[in-house]
């Protein structure tokens, strides 16, 4: 029996747990870490079952190579040579930008760093991205513009000191359960709670106010609240004068958002909007918590700007118990962004277009580097479908289920001349690959992860990988070596040393310093204790910037042919495309099949009973699911979780992209419904 301290592989909360191994070298359980500041001896259901998928019989154990149309086992050298040769040949023939590299929010910081190094130094392209494109790219863009940093401004322990929590577009108790529990605890001790969500999520039961705007109308709602705050004179004049710029233009932009007009756009009664504005503005310390309900829109960046404006207007930045708190979905999506697994920046958000940054990385890596930002993941799929991207390496992602408009993604991946996938299971995406490389999962390799509160923590190897599976960092080193880029790292600790040397916000981070409970970046030197709260005294960009926004509707809204608004998201028991949770017995038993939430009035109109199979269709695709009749959803709206390959919600969703962040509009498209 052995207990290995590590970081949970699921959401971005950053809980720590002990993986318990038996004498056969197999995991048999999980115990929460009592002395950890985030987990505090507690876990959610996924965390308690974090061991369950590891020994699943479908784990990939040998490299696979497509021969005569079938994936067949081969040896590592052959597989690695082939991946390198085919990608290099495509780059040679069509230019490096005909390649695309997808990193992973499930992989470690070190692995994301190596993958972006492989794309840039190994193959000469900035075409590298990962699934943050699908979740918080709007946040990274929006907050970087207004504050100078795209990350969560405050820390999870701020929930203990806040006077009011505004939760908008985050089903926190289901998607970040341990953060949701902090909100419930804050509520218990008397803090205020405003929930803004079209669905009656569980947290709404506890709220002082629950506003239910129509999906896609948040900009109007938030502008209405801010206009009301100004009308009531509840803004923080001193903060605005001392810390902000561009207030006049912002103030002028709010003129038209009267409560009545906002009510007409959003469906939120005018009085509720006024109440929410007053409650929020009157709190001395208010935290804004948001997630996919804000970001996954064709105007996701505008949503984030509006939230940022609201925080600035009321002086809720740079103090304990306040802040803009985007909850990052995956255990290392923050880290994957920090590591520069993005098309426009190196690690630490140093721009590829900045000659000084480029020169620094070029000197460190010993090769010239491309200067033009690369393709976003979503644009890369469009480019692949159009034949402009011809080769792709995907590490630990399953875009066939996770990206919007599955038909387009399938067409894109099938059209590639060469697709290599590194993964732990034969995902739907891996099944389209020419080469599949078997990876070690989180329990089988060392590395570091960065949580939603910017806490960099260790992941530790508890058991050996199955068969011939290798850690992603080892696979990437082998590919870097084949590209002629030296990669003789002894282990992830050495990779982190290189990251620290090149990345100011991680400069003080090293493996010995991560032995405790981790460090929150920025951590600029080896003595620095880390930074629990950003923008104290001054913002990362200097003055905070009010960024005026204007409401524009979602790209595709219900009409006579497609009368329902489709909302998509997750359930509490499953994780994204289900490759891990659907192979975990308790979690899979909880939700076994695709379902669609439908309001009782709509169900009655269509004469549908509970668990009735129905067909849901959009202009892009059609799936089957069983009804779940519930007033959690408003009338006229359907909600489908995207975990299930048997009824893939993303066969229906619209790949209408935010023009700045490239995020698809997962939260709004038009569908119709027919009984099967």
């Amino acid at each position: 029996m052995k207990a290995t301290l590590t970081t949970c592989p699921y959401c971005g909360t950053g809980c720590n747990l002990y993986l318990l191994g038996d004498e056969r070298g197999q995991l048999y359980g999980v115990e929460p870490v009592a002395g950890h500041p985030v987990s505090r001896g507690q876990l959610c259901l996924k965390g308690w079952n974090a061991h369950a998928f590891v020994a699943h019989p479908e784990r990939l154990t040998h490299p696979l190579l497509r021969r005569q149309g079938k994936l067949r086992p081969c040896d590592w050298e052959t597989a690695l040579d082939l991946v390198h040769c085919r990608l290099a040949a495509i780059a040679e023939r069509h230019g490096p930008d005909s390649l695309m590299f997808l990193a992973s929010a499930k992989a470690s910081n070190e692995e994301n760093y190596l993958l972006m190094k492989l794309a840039r130094a190994g193959f000469g392209t900035n075409n590298v991205d990962h699934c943050a494109r699908l979740c918080h790219s709007s946040t990274v863009f929006g907050l970087a513009e207004t504050l100078g940093s795209g990350a969560m401004t405050n820390s999870l322990n701020c929930f203990e000191r806040t006077d009011l929590v505004l939760v908008i577009g985050s089903n926190t108790t289901e998607q970040h359960p341990l953060i949701g529990s902090r909100i419930l605890q804050a509520r218990q001790r008397g803090a205020g709670l405003i929930v803004i969500d079209g669905r009656t999520i569980r947290l709404a039961r506890h709220a002082d106010l629950h506003l239910r705007p129509q999906n896609g109308t948040d900009v109007a709602l938030l502008c209405g609240m801010m206009r009301q705050i100004l009308a009531d004179g509840l803004e923080d004049r001193a903060f605005i004068a001392a810390r902000c710029e561009n207030f006049a233009a912002f103030e002028a932009s709010l003129r038209d958002y009267t409560p009545e007009r906002v009510a007409a756009i959003t469906g939120v009664p005018a009085q509720q909007l006024v109440d929410a504005a007053r409650r929020f503005a009157c709190a001395d310390k208010a935290m804004i918590v948001f997630a996919m309900g804000i970001t996954q829109h064709s105007h996701g960046v505008d949503n984030v700007r509006a939230l940022s404006n609201l925080a600035l207007l009321t002086g809720n930045i740079g103090r304990p118990g306040t802040g803009l708190n985007p909850l990052r979905g995956q255990n290392n999506v923050q880290g994957a962004c920090d590591m520069g697994a993005l098309p426009d920046v190196y690690s630490g958000y140093q721009k590829v277009s900045d000659p000084a940054a480029r020169e620094k990385f070029s000197a460190a890596w010993g090769v010239p580097l491309p200067d033009r930002p690369g393709l976003m993941a979503t644009h890369a799929m469009e480019a692949a479908a159009a034949g402009r991207v011809r080769g792709m390496l995907i590490m630990g992602e399953n875009p066939l289920l996770s990206e919007a408009n599955q038909g387009l993604v399938r067409q894109a991946l099938q059209k590639l001349e060469f697709l290599a996938v590194i993964d732990i299971f034969p995902t739907e995406t891996a099944q389209l690959a020419d080469v599949v490389l078997p990876a070690a999962c989180y329990a089988e390799r060392d590395g570091s992860f960065t949580s939603t509160e910017r806490r960099v923590q260790r992941g530790r190897q508890a058991i050996a990988p199955p068969g011939e599976a290798r850690a992603d960092w080892q696979i990437l080193c082998a590919l870097l070596g084949r590209c002629g880029v030296p990669a003789g790292y002894a282990g992830p600790g050495e990779i982190m040393a290189e990251i620290a040397a090149l990345t100011p916000s991680y400069a003080g981070i090293s493996y010995p310093r991560l032995e405790g409970t981790g460090l929150q970046w920025p951590c600029p030197d080896a003595e620095h204790p880390g930074t629990p709260i950003l923008h104290v005294g001054r913002c990362s960009r200097g003055k905070a910037r009010f960024s005026p926004v204007a409401y524009r509707p979602a790209v595709e809204t219900p009409d006579a042919d497609y009368p329902f608004l489709l909302n998509t998201g997750r359930t509490g028991v499953h994780w994204h495309t289900g490759s891990m949770t659907r192979r975990s017995h308790l979690l899979d038993r909880e939700e076994r099949e695709p379902y669609v939430e439908i309001h009782p009035a709509d169900a009655a109109r269509y004469q549908l009973e509970e668990r009735r199979p129905v067909r849901i269709s959009s202009r892009r695709g059609s799936i089957e699911a069983r009804t779940r009749i519930t007033d959690r959803v408003p009338a006229g709206q359907l909600f489908i979780p995207f975990h299930f390959v048997e009824g893939a919600a993303n066969a229906l969703t619209n790949n209408a992209l935010d023009p700045e962040s490239g995020i698809p509009e997962f939260k709004v498209c038009a569908v119709r419904l027919q009984p099967c």
């Binding site: 038996d22 048999y28 359980g29 959610c44 506890h206 405790g516």
Partner: protein, 328 residues
């Protein structure tokens, strides 16, 4: 007969145990908690916070192979462990949890898998000044083979079974007055607040909306069940590796929607309210009816594991407050 154990004697005792058992002892983890892990030599951490993980997991692990099937219809049971386990450092609540599970799994029809792990196991308890802040833990009364007693001037040992006596052979006797400085009064297992809550439940005086209010706070993590030393519910999974199928069982949680959901979709425990009420009723009403004792040993693990403050103690405190309010 009471013995006195110098440090070298204690190490000698550990070695004696390790010869015949797989010895598990409390070890301090980097976060300050203590876990029962295989003895690697040296002195175990006898005093400190309660063991983080319930010790009953040694006999009823979170995931356990039950049998293997081959495609010719052959059935193979897992190899028995080389040595039975010895659990050292159990307090009176840990031992009460084991006693409860023993009764549940070993009452006819006996649970073979539990018996396989439990048979021959040695239980070494701890009492005296072993609390987290040096407070005194109550004496153990026969629930273990051997009781280690942390006294102000050293470690004492008291056997409760023949095996315990045998293991302590040869060590120096201690005068009974060595215990005089310790409070050796047995304590009631259940604190007053739980007894009071149990009475209110038995008398059906808890208003329905109390359960709704509590259940609204449940985030269905299952932690209360997974942390509970007396929870015995499990699910079964089959996994096929080529020609071989592994049948395992794993901890289940009555707080999950699918725990009782039927194939038709009908669910006798289909709301959080029903599930929350059942968890408490089971422990404080049904178990006393069936076993003559509550299914809660008041170890506090569910309170520590619950992210939203509705573990047994917290819930019972609210329950009593609510009923007092209603009654007044």
């Amino acid at each position: 007969m009471l013995k006195r154990l110098e440090e070298k004697d204690f190490l000698c005792l550990l070695e004696r145990i390790a010869e015949r058992w797989q010895l598990l002892v409390p070890q301090r983890m980097s976060d300050g908690s203590r876990l029962l892990l295989p003895w690697q030599g040296g002195l175990p951490v006898l005093a400190g916070p309660p063991l983080q993980r319930k010790p009953t997991e040694v006999f009823f692990p979170q995931l356990e192979l039950l049998l293997e099937l081959d495609d010719a219809g052959g059935v193979a049971l897992p190899n028995p462990p080389e040595k039975p386990p010895a659990l050292l450092g159990l307090d009176h609540l840990d031992l009460a949890g084991i006693a409860f599970l023993d009764r549940f799994f070993l009452s006819p029809p006996t649970d073979d898998a539990y018996l396989r792990r439990r048979r021959g196991a040695l239980l070494v308890g701890v009492s005296g000044l072993a609390g987290a802040q040096g407070e005194t833990l109550p004496p153990l009364e026969g629930e273990c083979d051997l009781e280690l007693i942390l006294a102000p001037d050293g470690l004492l040992a008291h056997p409760h079974t023949a095996r315990g006596t045998e293991l302590l052979e040869g060590f120096a006797e201690a005068a009974p007055d060595k215990l005089a400085a310790l409070d050796r009064n047995a304590t009631e297992l259940l604190p007053e607040i739980l007894l009071k809550a149990a009475r209110l439940l038995q008398e059906e005086r808890v208003p329905e909306d109390f359960w709704e209010e509590i259940a609204a706070r449940c985030i269905a993590c299952g932690g209360c069940n997974f942390a509970c030393p007396t929870c015995s519910c499990f699910g079964v999974q089959d996994r096929t590796f080529g020609k071989r199928t592994e049948r395992s069982r794993l901890w289940d949680s009555c707080q999950l929607d699918a725990f009782m959901r039927e194939a038709s979709g009908h669910n006798p425990l289909g709301t959080e309210t029903l599930r929350t009420r059942r968890r408490i009723y089971h422990k404080l009403v049904a178990d006393p009816l069936r076993w003559g004792e509550p299914g809660c040993v008041a170890c506090g693990r569910c309170d520590r594991a619950c992210p939203t403050g509705i573990g047994m103690f917290a819930l019972c405190e609210e329950l009593v407050r609510t009923c007092d309010r209603h009654g007044s």
